[in-house]
Symmetry: C2
Subunit: 144 residues, 2 copies
């Protein structure tokens, strides 16, 4: 198993990004899955609603860059657990406004605390300068 090719996978950005994303997500996954049986799609929706307070599923699709079926199903499960409420828009009944319940907000507060703590741990692997550049670069790469 000796390297032969001049092409190095560890320089290929999509590969590197996936690797880093996968590994750095794992320990946070254990938290939201272990404590609340949630999926990745679900914590994302929950966090978006906590941060923006009031969104339609469409808004979430755009902000979180998630497919509408993913969002739809995440919303269903969060509703079943009474973490969010739906209210149809009066003027355009195709839209549904989503907001967290107090229960949902409580879950968010708990997860957010863990998220921030988790982020601290990750950042310990990097210098402050690296963190700044990394965030900037990741944001740039997130523009489609």
């Amino acid at each position: 198993m000796t390297q032969k090719d001049d092409f190095d996978l560890r320089e290929f950005l999509p590969y590197l990004l996936n690797q880093a994303a996968e590994i750095s997500s794992q320990s946070f996954q254990r938290i939201y899955k272990g404590r609340y049986g949630m999926l990745r799609t679900e914590w994302r929706v929950l966090f978006h609603l906590a941060i923006y307070e009031r969104m339609t599923a469409k808004d979430i699709c755009e902000k979180a860059i998630m497919h509408k079926t993913k969002v739809s199903r995440a919303v269903q499960r969060l509703e079943q657990r009474r973490y969010l409420q739906r209210k149809p828009d009066e003027k355009d009944r195709r839209h549904e406004w989503l907001t967290l319940t107090s229960q949902g907000r409580a879950v968010y507060e708990d997860l957010r605390a863990h998220a921030q703590q988790h982020d601290q741990v990750l950042m310990q692997k990097l210098s402050t300068e690296e963190i700044t550049v990394l965030r900037r670069a990741l944001n740039a790469l997130s523009q489609p």
Copy 2:
């Protein structure tokens, strides 16, 4: 939909990493999926075999940080398409040595060219300094 919370998702590394990974993978995905009907797991295995020439499934699991069932299934599909061959180890028949066929290498060469081109496009969004720091940071974050 106005931001309320002081916690910013766009600073949470696992989120940012996932977003960037997702988006930057998409156009490469169109290529390996469109041209060869391959999955992400499959191009990864293919690339590893091209680069390291001869590996067992276990080796690939470790290098690529993929679960053994993923690797097992990717190997099956690559074998069906005649992109790789298996040879049991003579001394320890639990091991199987995997190597690409010439067909598999041809597919790799094609995909590699596209990968490099795709990487160029991605890197245009960044300065050379950002690229250096990004790669270093991603490698650091990829250590579990």
